[in-house]
């Protein structure tokens, strides 16, 4: 069918609907490398404005690190730009396998398979390893890519209340008639920043004969004493059956992801996971840089320690200033505003003050749970955070929210 005027009108009306509902997303153009301080053109056509970045996943500050950039250049020179192939035809270089071995050692698993992204890893892994005789039991706040992956899989789906171990145990008991059970969780939840109770989840899974799946995208590189992830933090290294994670956040921030875990499960992904089978290989330039990232964080915990200090400092600044901050241990620090319009207004005003943050509201988070999600980086200096809190206090004062808890904010602004 041609793209008729009527059809065009329908799409225009759908887009207008998104705008009216406040769900229309607009990109902001960054005129500099990813860093703690960036130049942002917003709205489109405006002169680029220097701002402090508090909303990237550049947790370890490696996205533009000179040694990572140099390794990328070297990889480009040594192995070329593209492979023009999926992995299993002619798209696997020696460095792809080397990176998989390095990730296996870093994550403390048995084997690893690279995917074009963690979104792809999550989209492919469940269908590859489970059948209609199995059941997937997921925390209700898992990332959207996991939800998509579960929808593509024939196994039965079930969910448990966020971080509710009693509810999880009920579900595990309920599904004892299945061939296998797999408990699915994020390691660190991307919107709330809380860390999964992986020690309790593993204990329940072992008690009720279930596998454990963890998405470590917001954990790999910095959670745990040596940054290996939530399983290190919770003392269950070697007891997770499937880990997915990304190279697109702390581990260099470019793109690429992986499935890592039990040898047979990883091999099933190599044989069956459709995003691996039908999508191009991770480009050599990213593979070479990712190996350098693992070199950099393998020898020292300095970066994750700096990130931990920055997070503690930022949490203290926000709390002392009177903001309602969600408790947690990760560098995701949500400033709770509850009301969607308030979250958007505060984010806009902070941008005007030179602080780049984003407001999140329903359907990205639950209704009445609107917030500004701030994210720390090892690249932040004390001066960045001091300047940021000054702007937060100025904007907070303007909106009259300092010192207010949930009930007072809701009373003042509604839900």
């Amino acid at each position: 069918m041609a793209f008729s005027a009527g059809l065009r009108g329908q799409y225009q009306s759908d887009l207008a609907g998104l705008r009216e509902a406040g769900l229309f997303k607009e990109e902001r153009f960054i005129h500099s490398p990813q860093a703690a301080r960036i130049e942002v053109e917003f709205p489109a056509g405006a002169a680029p404005k220097p701002v402090i970045n508090l909303c990237s996943n550049n947790y370890l500050g490696l996205s533009s690190h000179p040694e990572v950039v140099a390794a990328a250049h070297a990889g480009l020179d040594a192995r070329g730009y593209g492979m023009s192939s999926v992995r299993f035809i002619c798209g696997t270089q020696d460095i792809h396998r080397e990176l998989e071995r390095r990730l296996t050692a870093f994550l403390g698993t048995e084997d690893t398979l690279l995917f074009p992204s963690c979104m792809d890893a999550n989209a492919g892994v469940f269908e590859a390893v489970l059948t209609d005789k199995d059941v997937m039991i997921a925390d209700r706040l898992v990332h959207a890519s996991i939800v998509d992956g579960m929808r593509l899989c024939k196994a039965m789906t079930d969910t448990f209340k966020h971080a509710d171990m009693g509810h999880l145990e009920e579900k595990l008991q309920e599904h004892q008639d299945k061939r296998s059970r797999i408990v699915i969780t994020d390691g660190v939840f991307s919107m709330d920043g809380d860390v999964a109770k992986l020690d309790e989840i593993v204990a329940l899974a072992e008690k009720h004969d279930a596998m454990v799946f963890v998405d470590e995208s917001h954990a790999s590189g910095f959670i745990g004493r040596t940054g290996r992830g939530t399983h290190e933090h919770c003392g269950v290294l070697g007891r997770i059956d499937v880990i997915t994670t990304t190279l697109g956040k702390a581990l260099g921030g470019a793109s690429g992801g992986c499935v890592s875990g039990r040898r047979e499960l990883v091999e099933m992904c190599r044989q069956r996971a459709r995003p691996y089978l039908f999508s191009n290989t991770v480009p050599p330039v990213i593979v070479a840089a990712a190996i350098k990232v693992l070199d950099l964080i393998g020898g020292t915990t300095e970066r994750r320690d700096t990130l931990e200090r920055n997070t503690a400092y930022w949490r203290r600044l926000l709390t002392e200033a009177g903001f309602d901050v969600k408790a947690g241990d990760s560098p995701i620090v949500p400033v709770m505003l509850y009301n969607a319009k308030l979250a958007q207004d505060v984010a806009r005003d902070l941008f005007a003050e030179g602080i780049y943050v984003v407001g999140f509201f329903f359907p990205v988070v639950a209704k009445g749970q609107a917030r500004i999600r701030t994210q720390l980086s090892a690249a932040h200096e004390k001066e960045h955070l001091d300047a940021a809190i000054e702007a937060f206090v100025k904007v907070g004062r303007r909106h009259g929210i300092l010192g207010l808890g949930r009930n007072e904010i809701v009373e003042k602004f509604g839900l």
Partner: protein
């Protein structure tokens, strides 16, 4: 029918509301569009109803629209029960 709605309301409160959540679920309360039940977690409600009333609700009928209120869910269950009056 009232008993059926009560059973559904009780299940929703137990299965989907978090501790401390003071929202009440009435027969016309929007569940999915109101953010109480997400469409992904809806499957446990469908399975509960199928088991409790020994019915089979085809996936094509188990839409977010059909599950959006206790009223609609009860009507759906009634359609698939033999007597039509649970």
């Amino acid at each position: 029918m009232d008993e059926l709605k009560k059973t559904i309301r009780e299940y929703i409160a137990k299965e989907y509301l978090e501790e401390g959540d003071d929202r009440t679920v009435g027969d016309g309360t929007p569940l999915i569009t109101g953010g109480i039940v997400d469409s992904f977690s809806m499957v446990s409600l469908k399975r509960f109803l199928e088991r409790k009333y020994a019915i089979r609700i085809p996936d094509a009928e188990a839409t977010p629209e059909a599950f959006d209120t206790v009223e609609r869910i009860a009507a759906l269950v009634n359609r698939f029960t033999k007597t039509g009056a649970v």
